[in-house]
Symmetry: C2
Subunit: 213 residues, 2 copies
C-alpha cells in the first residue's frame, strides 16, 4: 500500500479519468470491469491501467476483473479530501456559468461555495445553486466560506489583478482558464488551461495527416 505517498500529477489525472469512466459504467448497471476495457475507454494501454491501480493497492480477479463500486470508492479515498474542499468561480461570463453548470452536483467532495462578478446584474443572484457576490467582497467571502481553490474565468485584462488578490486572501490552489498565464508563490498549486493550445494541437495533427508522407 502506497496510499500515503504523494502520487505524480499524471497519475492523479488518470485516476480521476478512471473514476469518471467507472461512474458512467455504474450508471449503465455494470458491476465489474477489466483493465483492457478501462484502457479502451480512455485510449491508453491496459498495462498503464493495471500499473496505476496496483499503485493504489487494488487488485481485481482474473475472472471478473475489478469491482467497479469498490474501485470508485478507493479512488475517492486517494484523490478526494476527507472533509471536502470549497471552490469559488471568479468571473461569471459564459465560461464561468458553464463551469457552474458542469460541476453542479458532480463531486460531493468539491463544493462550489461562491461565484464572483463585477456585473451588478449578476450579483446577488444564484447560478446552479451557487450565490454570486460582487468582486469587492472576494476576501470577506473566501474567508467566511473557507474557500481553498479558485477557478479563474475573468477577462484577460483582469487576470493578474484577481490572481494577486486570491493569493493575498490565502488561496491554496488556482485553476486558470483565462488566456493569460499567471505567477503564484510556490505554496499555491497552479493549473493552467488554454483552449487555443488544445485546438492548435488538434489542427497540427489534422494538417499532418492530410499531407502525404
Amino acid at each position: 500500500m502506497k496510499r500515503n505517498n504523494k502520487l505524480p500529477g499524471k497519475t492523479i489525472e488518470r485516476l480521476s479519468q478512471y473514476r469518471r469512466s467507472l461512474l458512467l459504467c455504474l450508471a449503465q448497471e455494470k458491476t465489474h470491469i477489466f483493465s483492457h476495457e478501462i484502457a479502451a475507454l480512455l485510449h491508453i494501454t491496459p498495462v498503464q491501467v493495471r500499473r496505476d491501480i496496483m499503485l493504489i493497492g487494488y487488485t481485481g480477479t482474473l475472472r471478473q476483473g475489478y469491482d467497479i463500486r469498490e474501485l470508485i470508492d478507493l479512488i475517492g479515498e486517494i484523490i478526494d479530501s476527507q472533509d471536502g474542499l470549497n471552490v469559488a468561480v471568479i468571473g461569471l461570463g459564459n465560461l464561468g456559468r458553464a463551469i457552474l453548470t458542469y460541476l453542479s452536483g458532480k463531486r460531493t467532495k468539491l463544493r462550489i461555495a461562491a461565484a464572483f462578478d463585477i456585473n451588478p446584474e449578476k450579483v446577488d443572484k444564484v447560478y446552479g445553486g451557487v450565490p454570486c457576490y460582487p468582486l469587492d467582497r472576494l476576501q470577506e467571502i473566501l474567508e467566511k466560506e473557507e474557500v481553498s481553490i479558485g477557478i479563474l474565468t475573468v477577462p484577460a485584462t483582469e487576470t493578474a489583478g484577481v490572481a494577486n488578490t486570491l493569493v493575498n486572501c490565502g488561496i491554496k490552489g488556482i485553476l486558470n482558464y483565462t488566456p493569460k498565464p499567471i505567477n503564484v508563490p510556490p505554496h499555491v498549486y497552479l493549473q493552467e488551461y488554454d483552449m487555443i493550445t488544445s485546438l492548435e494541437k488538434v489542427a497540427y495533427f489534422v494538417k499532418r495527416n492530410q499531407q502525404p508522407g
Copy 2:
C-alpha cells in the same frame, strides 16, 4: 532543420504556449526575449525552452535573446496550416458560446466557420460573427464550409450520437469538451478535456500540501 518531421504532441503544446506568451510580450512592445524569461512565464525550465526552439531550427543571440516577431512567425510556420483550417462548434450552451467568444479573431489560421444547436431560439442567429445552424443540417454545412475540426460541447447524453455523425461526415479532428469520452476511428485525431480532472488534480495537491508530512 527538422521542420518536416512530425513533432510530438507535447512539443506542439509548448510551441503553442510559447506563441501565446510571445504575443502578449509583443502587445507590451517588447521586441526580444531570453529563454529564461519564456521559461519563467510558463513555469518550465530554460533548458526545455531552448531545446524546443532549437528543434524548430531557430537560435537567438547571446546578447539580445530571441527576436519575438521572428519566433512567432516561425512557430506559425510549424504549427499552423498554410491554408487555414475550418472549425465548427457543436452545442451552443454556455460552454459553446464561451468558446466562440474566446476564439473569435484569436488565430487567423483557424476559422470558426459554423456553430450548431437544436434550440430554435439559437438557430439562424449569429454568435461572435459565427452563424448558428440547426443540428440536422450538420452534414450539409460541414461539407459546404469544408470543416476539418469539430469542437463538441453538447450535453453528455448527445455526445456519442453527435460524435458518430461528425465521423460519418468525414471530420478530421475532434476536441471533446463533454463529460463523456468518445471513440473515433484511427484517422480522426481526438483530444478530450474534462474540467473535473483538472479540478480534482488541483484539489489533490492542495490537500496534500495542507497535510503535515
